[in-house]
Amino acid sequence: MKELLLIVIGSALVNNVVLSQFLGLCPFLGVSKKVETAAGMGVAVIFVITLASIATNRIYAWVLVPLGLEYLQTIAFILVIAALVQFVEMFLKKNMVALYESLGVYLPLITTNCAVLGVALTNVQENYNFLESVMNGIGISVGFTIAIIMLAGIREKIENNDIPYSFKGSPIVLITAGLMAISFFGFSGLI
């Protein structure tokens, strides 16, 4: 139990997926203009990454290892993730219309989010078992959500500030992200 908790805290705060590992930067910089959309994206990412870490872990243990095809993991994982996102989209559209309306827009964006493939690959690299993989997935996606919502909150305030001409647009966003990364160093003493 203690180890599982450590995995969640470690991947959510200490090794934050965007701020220290640079995975999933495109949505982090792109979908962070408003807190509302950032939160929607964050929830969709939590949903998909958790499902993807379950699916890829099982595929690895049930299909790739028995057949001795571990070296095909990258191909297998990316196909599983793409199929999973499609399937989730169809399932939500049919059975949970309310959830589909709030998350549906973000789902196709997530297939190309490198964080999803990154989670699947780290789970294998670290030799995590089933439960640990799921916890790692939850931790990483929660960390992504925390970071993107915080950045969106700061960006909403920055809008009203007087920024030098050269720093308008993406430079100031990148500086904000850099300062956030420094403050996330503070968590490194947690574990």
């Binding site: 910089l29 979908v31 793409a82 196709p108 690959l121 990148l174």
Partner: protein
């Protein structure tokens, strides 16, 4: 022959993926802690780009339009696996330094972007040179950024240390330094009005989504989604 040279010039100068198109930001920020890592990552991506462009272009008439993206992904993923195994066998130190970012070349937007925008519309030779140009442009971009970061952060040039340790600004080789370096780069581009995707002076790419992650905020995707929905609704009504 002229066209091949033009593609290489286009990739390195005119549409440089790092400085002008701002594609593939994840590896740009993550692996540029030392110059040798930057070159290694750039050259591995170049190898994948050349062969993915060549193969996709050669098969562009066989692959049905509706399943082209999954087909492209499978081709790219196979090539990345080959490159990964080769690096693991012959350059183990680079393999350890780059780690998870080698398999993640699959999701690098440059590769699928070039497949969509160029290789699926042009002949194999021109596409291979397009891949070579784009890959070299990416390598040049990564190397420039990593030389700066290594010089400031660990006071060395390709591993040769010549600045005493007291004068190292170690934050530049850590995660926040990556963001600061990139933000300074884009700020300078804004200041001198250099062509860059970040100040809107570059025409939108031919990708379905526009390929501009910095300004998209999911709006283009949402728009496409709505169009698709209405189309599907109309089709359902007809039935």
């Amino acid at each position: 022959m002229n066209k091949c040279i033009e593609r290489i010039y286009n990739g390195i100068i005119k549409e440089n993926p790092t400085f002008v198109l701002m594609l593939g930001m994840c590896p740009t920020l993550a692996v540029t802690t030392s110059a040798s890592n930057g070159i290694g990552m750039g050259l591995s991506t170049t190898a994948v780009l050349i062969f993915s462009n060549l193969l996709i272009s050669a098969m562009r008439n066989i692959i049905p339009d509706r399943v082209r993206i999954p087909a492209f992904i499978v081709i790219v993923a196979s090539l990345v696996t080959i490159v990964q195994l080769l690096i693991q066998a012959y350059l183990p130190s680079l393999y350890d330094a780059l780690g998870i970012y080698i398999p993640l070349i699959v999701v690098n937007c440059i590769i699928l972007g070039r497949a969509e925008a160029y290789a699926s519309k042009n002949g194999p030779i021109a596409s291979a040179f397009d891949g070579l140009g784009m890959g070299l442009g990416f390598t040049v971009g990564l190397t420039c950024i990593s030389i700066f970061r290594e010089l400031l952060g660990s006071g060395s040039f390709f591993g040769m240390e010549f600045i005493p340790e007291d004068f190292h600004i170690s934050i530049f080789v850590l995660a926040p330094g990556a963001f600061f370096v990139l933000s300074m780069l884009t700020a300078l581009q804004n200041k001198f009005k250099a062509p860059s995707a970040t100040n809107g002076s570059v025409p939108a790419s031919q990708l379905a989504c526009g390929g501009d992650c910095m300004h998209c905020s999911g709006s283009v995707c949402a728009e496409n989604h709505m169009k698709l929905e209405t189309r599907q609704g109309q089709a359902a009504k007809k039935d």
